[in-house]
Amino acid sequence: MAILSTPRSAVQLASKGRPLKEHLFRIALMASLAIALAFLAMLLLYVVEKGWPRLNSMLWENQPSIRRPETSGIQSGILGTLWIIALTAVMALPTGILAAIYLEEYADRTKWYNKLIELNISNLAAVPSIVYGILGLGIIARWLQFGFTVMTGAVTISLLVLPIVIISAREAIRAVPPSIREGSLALGATQWQTIYRQVLPASIPGIATGSILALSRAIGEAAPFLMLGAATLVRFNPEGVWSSFTVLPLQIYSFISRPQEEFSILASAAIVILLAILLLMNSVAIWLRNRYQKRW
């Protein structure tokens, strides 16, 4: 008889209302996500509210000043960040995308050197950014004698974002189904023609999304620049790749390090500018992904 009786869980499934435990679990999960997002919301509200009085044109028209925080700007930081990002885009994106093509399309995974490259990239992606600062200081600034210049900063940051570019570009290339390649090869195209005319055009949206996210990581990075002599308040704009410089996150750091409340307000205003740039880049990346992502 016991065998024929309905199991309790089946009764639960049949009944409309779910037991309390299920509800509580669901609420706890939603609450966790809500808490994480509440931090983000609080942070945004806090910096906008605090930086509001200083969010005016003085911010990007003036240079930073230690003596007059109330009229100090962040122009050298904004321009320094733009220089670094432009150079990083020129150096890291082509290198990363080419490396991704090699690893996805050419590399024979049974070969030891290809395994080494793969292992190496996943390890580099998790190396702390301050260690890249040491690389920049020891090798690029001193050994190659690039000095504490825009070039040193850009090369260091390019090496830092390179693994991120490679990993996301590989994912985008992998998403192109093999049938596309086989069709192209069957029509007599060479391997490079197949990649250049079929695989790359199909994976461009994915590669672009990953590249934008990698560059936005580069914009927010401050730790490596601390090691590259960019910490001091620079009161002039960079004039070329061999000029000394500062970047926006470091300028914010130097404002935060000062005790006066005016600098705290100034830091908030600068953070709002930095976050606005990053949000814009993130939105473009997400829009690109939603607009052009193909399901094969």
Partner: protein
């Protein structure tokens, strides 16, 4: 002779090869391989940059003093080189971060992967990405000027210093939530639906299915995500430099100011030590230690995925 050889081995390269090789294709492959080798060169560069000054450092300071003493003050006179205060601070802040990030991140991942509708997921995943993209100076600023004063008002009995490990650790935790959440969600989404359906067919509820079927099936990915998050927390610099401070006194109480390994590197590297001095070489010695620790954790994370991955198909 050779023609016969070709026919006996069909399908090999030799049988289909062109009479005239395409040099352009070789050039392309060589260029691509060079691009891939840049990453290997980066690792070699990091090791060289760290190794030489570290060796010089240990020629002047014994390993016994470095790992055997709890006095740290390479910038003081007389200098002291016991690295333990830095290690303790790093471990403590990382622990606080893990306590914050693992439950929240994991729960968010279960919600997004198992409970949320397609629409909800499409909204919240990008928002988590935005959280992941917030620069760490911003988290540090928030910890220093908002969280610490708030905690000092709410919990005066904690006796927090203006810079403290608690607020720094909390915000490092918030920083790594998206890493835990998004990587765990990926591995949960990869669990085939047949497993869930099987579980429902046996009468299990949604909660039981999530906790007893999906999470165990995605376990290797989840653990790898957590290890990766830990290594990110251990190497985080700006939050701890801003909100955790630079004081390196041997202390366990998280309400105190304490300097982690990364914070020390930032402090000494941004100009407090003159080039070539023993204090300057300390930066590289501590950097080597940090590099080795994070490298070991990444290796562990990769091994976990390889060893315990459940393969479905």
């Amino acid at each position: 002779m050779s023609a016969q050889h070709r026919t006996t081995v069909p399908g090999t390269r030799g049988s289909l090869a062109r009479s005239r090789p395409r040099y352009g294709e070789f050039v392309v492959k060589a260029v691509l391989l060079t691009a891939a080798m840049v990453s290997v060169a980066t690792t070699i560069g990091i090791v060289i940059a760290l190794l030489e000054p570290t060796v010089e450092f240990f020629a002047a300071v014994s390993i016994g003093e470095f790992f055997g003493s709890t006095d740290w003050g390479p910038l003081f006179n007389p200098p002291a080189f016991g690295v333990w205060p830095l290690i303790v601070a790093t471990v403590e802040i990382t622990l606080i971060a893990v306590v914050v990030a693992v439950p929240l991140g994991l729960a968010a991942a279960i919600y997004l992967s198992e409970y949320a509708s397609h629409r909800t997921r499409k909204i919240f995943k990008p928002v988590l990405e935005v959280l992941a993209g917030v620069p760490t100076v911003v988290f540090g600023f928030f910890a220093l000027t908002f969280v610490t004063p708030l905690f000092r008002n709410l919990f005066p009995f904690l006796d927090l210093e203006a810079k403290n490990a608690l607020a720094a650790g909390l915000l490092v935790g918030v920083m790594i939530i998206p890493i835990v959440a998004s990587l765990s969600e990926d591995s949960m989404a990869a669990v085939p639906n047949g497993l869930r359906e099987g579980s429902y067919a046996l009468g299990a509820s949604k909660m039981l299915t999530s906790v007893r079927v999906v999470v165990p099936a995605a376990f290797s990915g989840i653990v790898a995500a957590i290890i990766l998050a830990i290594s990110r927390a251990a190497g985080e610099t700006m939050i701890v430099a801003i909100a955790g401070g630079f004081k390196s006194v041997f202390t366990l109480y998280p309400g105190n100011e304490m300097s982690t390994m990364a914070a020390f590197i930032a402090q000494a590297g941004s100009g407090d030590a003159s080039v070539g001095s023993i204090a300057y070489k300390t930066i590289f010695a501590v950097g080597s230690l940090l590099f080795v620790i994070t490298f070991a954790m990444n290796y562990l994370s990769a091994r976990m995925v390889q060893k315990y991955r459940e393969v479905y198909d």
